[in-house]
């Protein structure tokens, strides 16, 4: 099945973003894969075929984003989905955190999502349907030592989405947040063994989640089955925050 509609996915070259792209393609979306990692994008494009369209872009750069938005509008089916997934960490205790470490994480994770959403949202408004999903984190809900910047950016996505929902819900557009718990990715792979053990002891499901489990939730929120679900935060965390 081909939906003849495009989903813009940021950070789609690897990790959770790549899984989201794969899942969306499997249910018929064309994916505009935005990422800074040109080589990883090319590798993914080779593996996933013509429904995965790579665009190398820094989402903090409004000028580049504008160019990509016009290219997508020209080259791909109408945009009806936006997945704000791109994210970075610069962890350190607040006492030691530099202003640059704070700003960079906010710029990419929160302001980047705002810019991407703004660059593509008109197409959803025109179509009078569509879905916007932002990937937050349980850290945005409960906090984490060493992540004041990351947690603030992820909590910010929740406020942004809930407000945007009030602007767009009347147009048949859903705006939701998925808040992953601890997921097996490069971001969590490099954790010290004791931190990993500590996490595991706090997860009722007694295991880390898989990227595909986040992708499944995103695809559901973007499916016709979820048309009446909007403005929510869906934790996908093995029971961690409940």
């Amino acid at each position: 099945m081909n939906l003849n509609a495009t989903a813009v996915v940021t950070g789609a070259a690897r990790g959770i973003g790549l899984e989201i792209a794969k899942k969306l393609i499997s249910v018929g979306w064309t994916v505009a894969a935005l990422d800074m990692l040109e080589d990883d994008l090319a590798t993914a494009a080779e593996a996933l075929g013509e429904m995965y369209k790579p665009y190398t872009v820094n989402i903090t750069d409004s000028v580049q984003l504008k160019e990509v938005a016009s290219a997508v509008a020209k080259e791909l089916p109408v945009v009806k989905g936006i997945v704000n997934n791109a994210g970075i960490t610069r962890d350190t205790l607040m006492m030691r955190m530099s202003e640059d470490q704070w700003n960079l994480v906010i710029d990419v994770n929160l302001t980047g999502a705002w810019k991407v959403t703004q660059a593509f949202m008109r197409s959803l408004i025109r179509a009078r349907e569509g879905s916007i999903v932002s990937i937050s984190s349980v850290v945005g809900l409960v906090g984490a030592a060493g992540q004041t910047n990351y947690a603030a950016s992820k909590a910010g996505l929740i406020g942004m989405s809930k407000s945007l929902n009030r602007e767009l819900a009347g147009r048949g557009i859903t705006v939701n947040v998925v808040a992953p718990g601890f997921i097996e990715t490069e971001m969590t792979e490099n954790l010290p063994e004791e931190v990993r053990k500590d996490y595991l002891s706090r997860i009722p499901a007694a295991r880390l989640g898989l990227p595909v489990e986040i992708a499944e939730s995103v695809a559901f929120l973007m499916s016709p089955s979820a048309k009446y679900i909007t403005g929510i935060v869906l934790p996908v965390d093995g029971g961690l925050t409940t």
């Binding site: 008109r122 408004i125 009347g170």
Partner: protein, 79 residues
């Protein structure tokens, strides 16, 4: 095409109304059913089409089809 016709065309396509409803005195919100999001969308369309900037204050004064036409004329746009 006259300025009036170009504007009318934009309004018809954006607000999904019939061309004969787009009279000079028609109020965009009350008569043509535009909500605040439609108004923003319409202003952005006018900006793109006629290559100009419309401030929020200016946008708020554009209540009727006629006021859009005369506003664009004050900006030096004739057709």
């Amino acid at each position: 095409m006259s300025l009036e016709n170009r504007i009318s065309e934009i309004i018809v396509s954006r607000l999904n109304v019939k061309p004969e409803e787009v009279t000079e005195s028609a109020n965009l919100k009350d008569d043509l059913g535009a909500d605040s999001l439609d108004m923003v969308d319409l202003m952005m369309d006018l900006e793109d089409t006629f290559d100009l900037k419309i401030s929020d204050e200016e946008g708020n004064t554009l209540q009727t089809v006629g006021s859009v036409v005369s506003f664009l004329k004050t900006k030096g746009i004739e057709a």
